[in-house]
Subunit: 83 residues, 2 copies
Amino acid sequence: MAHFMDIHKNMKGLTKDQLLEAHNQDLANEQGTGVHFQKAWGDPTSGWVFCLSEGPNREAIQQVHRRSGHPADEIFEVPVSVE
Amino acid sequence: MAHFMDIHKNMKGLTKDQLLEAHNQDLANEQGTGVHFQKAWGDPTSGWVFCLSEGPNREAIQQVHRRSGHPADEIFEVPVSVE
Protein backbone atom coordinates (compact mmCIF):
# COMPACT_ATOMS: atom_id res chain seq x y z
CA MET A 1 0.00 0.00 0.00
CA ALA A 2 1.13 3.51 -0.79
CA HIS A 3 0.69 6.49 1.50
CA PHE A 4 -0.85 9.83 0.54
CA MET A 5 -1.31 13.34 1.91
CA ASP A 6 -4.16 15.22 0.28
CA ILE A 7 -5.23 18.83 0.66
CA HIS A 8 -8.63 20.52 0.64
CA LYS A 9 -8.39 24.30 0.34
CA ASN A 10 -11.94 25.50 0.79
CA MET A 11 -13.05 24.63 4.33
CA LYS A 12 -12.94 27.98 6.12
CA GLY A 13 -14.70 27.97 9.47
CA LEU A 14 -14.42 24.19 9.78
CA THR A 15 -15.28 22.87 13.25
CA LYS A 16 -14.04 19.75 14.98
CA ASP A 17 -17.50 18.18 14.56
CA GLN A 18 -17.56 18.95 10.83
CA LEU A 19 -14.09 17.45 10.35
CA LEU A 20 -15.15 14.35 12.28
CA GLU A 21 -18.31 14.03 10.16
CA ALA A 22 -16.33 14.37 6.91
CA HIS A 23 -13.79 11.81 8.12
CA ASN A 24 -16.57 9.38 9.09
CA GLN A 25 -18.07 9.74 5.60
CA ASP A 26 -14.69 8.77 4.14
CA LEU A 27 -14.46 5.78 6.47
CA ALA A 28 -17.92 4.61 5.34
CA ASN A 29 -17.17 5.17 1.65
CA GLU A 30 -13.72 3.56 1.64
CA GLN A 31 -15.17 0.09 2.32
CA GLY A 32 -14.03 -2.38 -0.32
CA THR A 33 -11.72 0.11 -2.09
CA GLY A 34 -8.41 -0.73 -0.40
CA VAL A 35 -8.24 2.88 0.81
CA HIS A 36 -8.00 3.84 4.47
CA PHE A 37 -8.16 7.40 5.74
CA GLN A 38 -5.99 7.52 8.84
CA LYS A 39 -5.85 11.08 10.13
CA ALA A 40 -6.89 14.62 9.23
CA TRP A 41 -5.88 18.09 10.39
CA GLY A 42 -7.71 21.33 9.68
CA ASP A 43 -7.02 25.06 9.74
CA PRO A 44 -10.39 26.86 9.94
CA THR A 45 -8.72 30.23 9.26
CA SER A 46 -7.19 29.40 5.86
CA GLY A 47 -9.71 26.65 5.12
CA TRP A 48 -6.98 24.10 4.40
CA VAL A 49 -7.44 20.49 5.51
CA PHE A 50 -4.77 17.78 5.29
CA CYS A 51 -5.74 14.08 5.11
CA LEU A 52 -3.31 11.20 5.58
CA SER A 53 -4.33 7.94 3.95
CA GLU A 54 -3.11 4.69 2.49
CA GLY A 55 -4.39 3.01 -0.62
CA PRO A 56 -3.53 1.51 -3.98
CA ASN A 57 -3.15 4.78 -5.91
CA ARG A 58 -4.02 8.48 -6.05
CA GLU A 59 -7.21 7.97 -8.06
CA ALA A 60 -8.61 5.52 -5.47
CA ILE A 61 -8.09 8.16 -2.75
CA GLN A 62 -9.89 10.77 -4.82
CA GLN A 63 -12.77 8.42 -5.63
CA VAL A 64 -13.55 7.93 -1.93
CA HIS A 65 -13.36 11.69 -1.30
CA ARG A 66 -15.68 12.27 -4.28
CA ARG A 67 -18.23 9.80 -2.95
CA SER A 68 -18.15 11.74 0.30
CA GLY A 69 -18.83 14.98 -1.58
CA HIS A 70 -15.48 16.62 -0.85
CA PRO A 71 -12.92 15.90 -3.59
CA ALA A 72 -9.35 16.90 -2.73
CA ASP A 73 -7.66 19.85 -4.45
CA GLU A 74 -4.26 18.16 -4.43
CA ILE A 75 -3.05 14.64 -3.65
CA PHE A 76 0.60 13.83 -2.95
CA GLU A 77 2.02 10.35 -2.69
CA VAL A 78 4.38 10.38 0.32
CA PRO A 79 6.62 7.31 0.10
CA VAL A 80 9.13 8.67 2.61
CA SER A 81 8.22 9.50 6.19
CA VAL A 82 9.59 9.96 9.68
CA GLU A 83 7.32 9.18 12.59
CA MET B 1 0.43 24.06 22.85
CA ALA B 2 -0.84 24.66 19.34
CA HIS B 3 -0.41 22.22 16.47
CA PHE B 4 0.98 23.05 13.04
CA MET B 5 1.37 21.52 9.59
CA ASP B 6 4.08 23.13 7.53
CA ILE B 7 5.05 22.61 3.91
CA HIS B 8 8.38 22.67 2.11
CA LYS B 9 8.01 22.76 -1.69
CA ASN B 10 11.52 22.37 -3.00
CA MET B 11 12.80 18.92 -1.98
CA LYS B 12 12.62 16.96 -5.23
CA GLY B 13 14.50 13.67 -5.11
CA LEU B 14 14.37 13.55 -1.31
CA THR B 15 15.41 10.19 0.15
CA LYS B 16 14.33 8.59 3.40
CA ASP B 17 17.82 9.20 4.82
CA GLN B 18 17.72 12.88 3.87
CA LEU B 19 14.29 13.32 5.48
CA LEU B 20 15.53 11.59 8.62
CA GLU B 21 18.60 13.82 8.71
CA ALA B 22 16.50 16.99 8.27
CA HIS B 23 14.10 15.83 10.99
CA ASN B 24 16.98 15.08 13.35
CA GLN B 25 18.35 18.59 12.76
CA ASP B 26 14.96 19.99 13.78
CA LEU B 27 14.91 17.81 16.90
CA ALA B 28 18.36 19.12 17.86
CA ASN B 29 17.47 22.75 17.14
CA GLU B 30 14.09 22.74 18.88
CA GLN B 31 15.67 22.29 22.32
CA GLY B 32 14.50 25.01 24.70
CA THR B 33 12.06 26.58 22.23
CA GLY B 34 8.85 24.82 23.26
CA VAL B 35 8.60 23.42 19.72
CA HIS B 36 8.46 19.71 18.97
CA PHE B 37 8.54 18.26 15.48
CA GLN B 38 6.49 15.07 15.58
CA LYS B 39 6.28 13.60 12.10
CA ALA B 40 7.15 14.34 8.49
CA TRP B 41 6.06 12.96 5.12
CA GLY B 42 7.75 13.57 1.79
CA ASP B 43 6.94 13.28 -1.92
CA PRO B 44 10.26 13.11 -3.83
CA THR B 45 8.45 13.54 -7.16
CA SER B 46 6.83 16.92 -6.44
CA GLY B 47 9.41 17.91 -3.85
CA TRP B 48 6.75 18.67 -1.23
CA VAL B 49 7.37 17.76 2.41
CA PHE B 50 4.79 18.05 5.21
CA CYS B 51 5.88 18.45 8.84
CA LEU B 52 3.57 18.05 11.83
CA SER B 53 4.62 19.88 14.96
CA GLU B 54 3.48 21.47 18.17
CA GLY B 55 4.69 24.70 19.66
CA PRO B 56 3.76 28.12 21.02
CA ASN B 57 3.20 29.86 17.66
CA ARG B 58 3.96 29.81 13.93
CA GLU B 59 7.09 31.95 14.23
CA ALA B 60 8.65 29.55 16.75
CA ILE B 61 8.15 26.69 14.29
CA GLN B 62 9.78 28.66 11.50
CA GLN B 63 12.68 29.70 13.70
CA VAL B 64 13.63 26.06 14.35
CA HIS B 65 13.33 25.21 10.64
CA ARG B 66 15.52 28.24 9.82
CA ARG B 67 18.19 27.14 12.28
CA SER B 68 18.18 23.78 10.50
CA GLY B 69 18.68 25.52 7.15
CA HIS B 70 15.30 24.58 5.66
CA PRO B 71 12.67 27.28 6.34
CA ALA B 72 9.10 26.24 5.51
CA ASP B 73 7.25 27.75 2.55
CA GLU B 74 3.91 27.70 4.35
CA ILE B 75 2.86 27.06 7.94
CA PHE B 76 -0.73 26.28 8.92
CA GLU B 77 -2.03 26.17 12.46
CA VAL B 78 -4.26 23.08 12.67
CA PRO B 79 -6.41 23.37 15.81
CA VAL B 80 -8.89 20.71 14.66
CA SER B 81 -7.87 17.13 14.00
CA VAL B 82 -9.15 13.58 13.77
CA GLU B 83 -6.75 10.76 14.59
